[in-house]
């Protein structure tokens, strides 16, 4: 809310705040009409599905077979099925590892390191590195997945050529490691930008004060920079977690295999619901995912507000 003071002809100072000023004479009714279509779209295609999934999760709806015609209410049956499903726990466990390694550690650390290293550079080096990272983020997922499939190919892959490890089928032998690294590759630009803007909020005169007091760059980092951007680090990490948890692209790389070894939650949902047509069951686990998303988002808002 920006406050601007305007002095009228008689010298009276009137404070004009930049809040809603119905200058076009819309009126509440018409404003409602203007907002309605957008809200309708959001309501129908975003809100409704989220809520409907609660109901759906309690039915045994399937695309084909008996239940397709005769859907019955199964209460919490899907949820118990889920908790009893080994694949569910497998997916959850893999996802925790995936998010922790690729998101919280991988992207955050690499993103921060890049933001910190490049913070004083202004020339072509910085532009080059940032552009490369950004390109990885921007290239569409299906293309990215194929680029990595090509890189990791057992016969002709460039990685095998470079490391002199001919015949290694990376995606088969080290699948989790591969999707973790792949996801770090894709997502680092995101965290790099987040941390870059956080770092620019640190006052240079504080760093110089520390420098004059004799603090080395490392000391400046730990004594001043990190405490100052503590809030940013937390919110950034939560954002990265949310994004990493929800990303579907690893499916394009390994399709959850081999043998469910990379079946992270997003892939698990796809396979259970759309893959095998158990929509009721799929809805139940989708609901669990929505709840996890909700938890992360609420945590984010709480931390963000404290800042």
């Amino acid at each position: 809310m920006v406050s601007t003071r305007s002095v009228t002809g008689t010298g009276v100072v009137r404070a004009r705040r930049n809040r809603a000023d119905d200058v076009a004479g819309l009126g509440r009714a018409r404003a409602g009409v203007f907002v309605a279509p957008a809200l309708l779209m959001i309501g129908m295609f975003l809100l409704f599905p989220a809520i409907w999934t609660i109901y759906l999760g309690m039915t045994d709806f399937r695309l084909t077979g008996l239940a397709a015609a005769h859907t019955s209410f199964v209460g919490l049956g899907n949820f118990t099925a889920a908790f009893g499903d080994k694949a569910f726990w497998n997916a959850l466990q893999l996802t925790v590892v995936f998010v922790a390694l690729s998101g919280v550690i991988g992207q955050s650390l690499l993103g921060f390191s890049l933001a910190w290293s490049l913070r004083r550079l202004k020339g072509w080096v910085r532009t080059l590195v940032e552009s490369l990272a950004l390109a990885a983020w921007v290239i569409p997922g299906s293309v990215n997945a194929f680029l990595w499939i090509a890189l990791l190919d057992r016969r002709d892959g460039t990685l095998n050529t470079l490391l002199n490890t001919p015949g290694t089928a990376w995606l088969i032998s080290y699948p989790m490691a591969m999707i973790v690294i792949f996801n770090i590759w894709v997502g680092t630009a995101f965290s790099m930008q987040l941390f870059s803007s956080a770092l620019s909020s640190v006052s240079p005169s504080q760093l110089e004060s520390a420098q004059i007091a004799g603090a080395s760059e490392f000391r400046q980092l730990f004594d001043i920079v990190l405490p100052t951007i503590k809030g940013h680090i937390l919110t950034n990490t939560l954002m990265i977690t949310l994004w990493t948890f929800n990303t579907f692209t690893p499916f394009l790389l390994t399709a959850g295999g081999p043998n469910r070894k990379t079946e992270i939650f997003s892939v698990y949902i796809y396979k259970s619901a759309i893959g095998s047509g158990q929509l009721g069951f799929g809805a139940a686990i989708s609901m669990i995912m929505l709840l996890i998303n909700l938890a992360i988002a609420l945590l984010y808002m709480r931390v963000g507000r404290k800042r």
Binding site: L26, L46, V138, L147, Q193, S286
Partner: protein, 286 residues
């Protein structure tokens, strides 16, 4: 005791630390740059190679691979589909969002700020992945499965909260004096919006339009689950089928197609980055 007594030796060790630090920095930056560049190199050389393999090699220069796009029954069509879907999404999103953002910016609706943050929260939680099942259900129920309209509607619904939020911000900074004078001339609010506000807010609208295009063009999941017919699928999904369908992957086609599919988005992104310095609004890209 003054501070300067230990000066000379400390400076020498400092200079040594400085050198090692600088060396480490160069190594780090080089390794990271190679890390990012390596997978992308194939995308730059293979499309122009008459005999591409999975490896990165000096190409046998040719432009013939791009013809294969036209030869494949679905390839060119999928690019058109991507265009149709993207344009549809942008049109729908921008129009609805402009109306809503304007109203929200100008009229004091109770609970407005809560609504906006609620919308943002909603779009962060209900991601493409989390909502894929109910979305599939809903679109089936509406009979829009396997239609591009269904895809456009779902994508628009997902993008709208963020776009409304951004546009409202822009609208807030549009000076109100233009509208006041238009009103004095007797213009209706809709006319004011169309003739006065939109032209002034054009940079903001352009920004969200571009952002929406990029999101729609690159989106994989929504068309993947909603479209079965290969003649309707956009490029991203078709690309996936190229390397997962049974049989030998036609690398010439894949390489050329990837480049054609990727280039528009990369170019737009970097152009906008130059102009606006791209910020990640919620940044959730599925």
């Amino acid at each position: 005791m003054t501070m300067a007594t230990r000066t000379p030796s400390r400076t020498t060790s400092r200079t040594a630390t400085r050198f090692v630090g600088r060396l480490g920095f160069v190594v780090f930056i080089t390794v990271v740059s190679v890390f990012f560049a390596l997978p992308m190199v194939w995308l730059v050389v293979a499309p122009f190679d008459a005999n591409p393999t999975m490896s990165v090699k000096w190409p046998d220069w040719t432009l013939n691979n791009f013809h294969r796009i036209l030869e494949n029954p679905y390839a060119f069509g999928s690019i058109v589909n991507s265009l149709i879907i993207s344009v549809g999404v942008v049109a729908l999103t921008v129009i609805l969002a402009t109306l809503a953002a304007y109203a929200l910016s100008r009229v004091r609706i109770p609970g407005r700020d809560a609504l906006l943050y609620g919308l943002l929260l909603l779009s962060s939680i209900v991601t493409g992945t989390a909502a894929m099942v109910p979305t599939f259900q809903l679109i089936s129920a509406l009979g829009l499965i396997n239609t591009q309209l269904g895809v456009v509607l779902v994508m628009s619904g997902g993008l709208l909260p963020t776009v409304v939020f951004i546009l409202k911000d822009f609208m807030d900074s549009v000076p109100k004096s233009y509208e006041e004078s238009a009103r004095l001339y007797g213009a209706t609010p809709f006319q004011i919006l169309r003739d006065v506000v939109v032209p002034v807010a054009r940079p903001g609208i352009a920004f969200v339009a571009v952002w929406s295009v990029v999101q729609a063009w690159s989106n994989f999941l929504v068309p993947f689950i909603l479209l079965r017919d290969p003649t309707l699928q956009p490029a991203g999904v078709l690309m996936y089928t190229f390397y997962t369908e049974a049989g030998q992957a036609d690398l010439r086609l894949i390489a050329a197609f990837s480049l054609v599919y990727t280039l528009p988005v990369v170019v737009i992104y970097f152009l906008v980055n130059r102009k606006f310095g791209f910020r990640f609004y919620g940044g959730i890209k599925s």
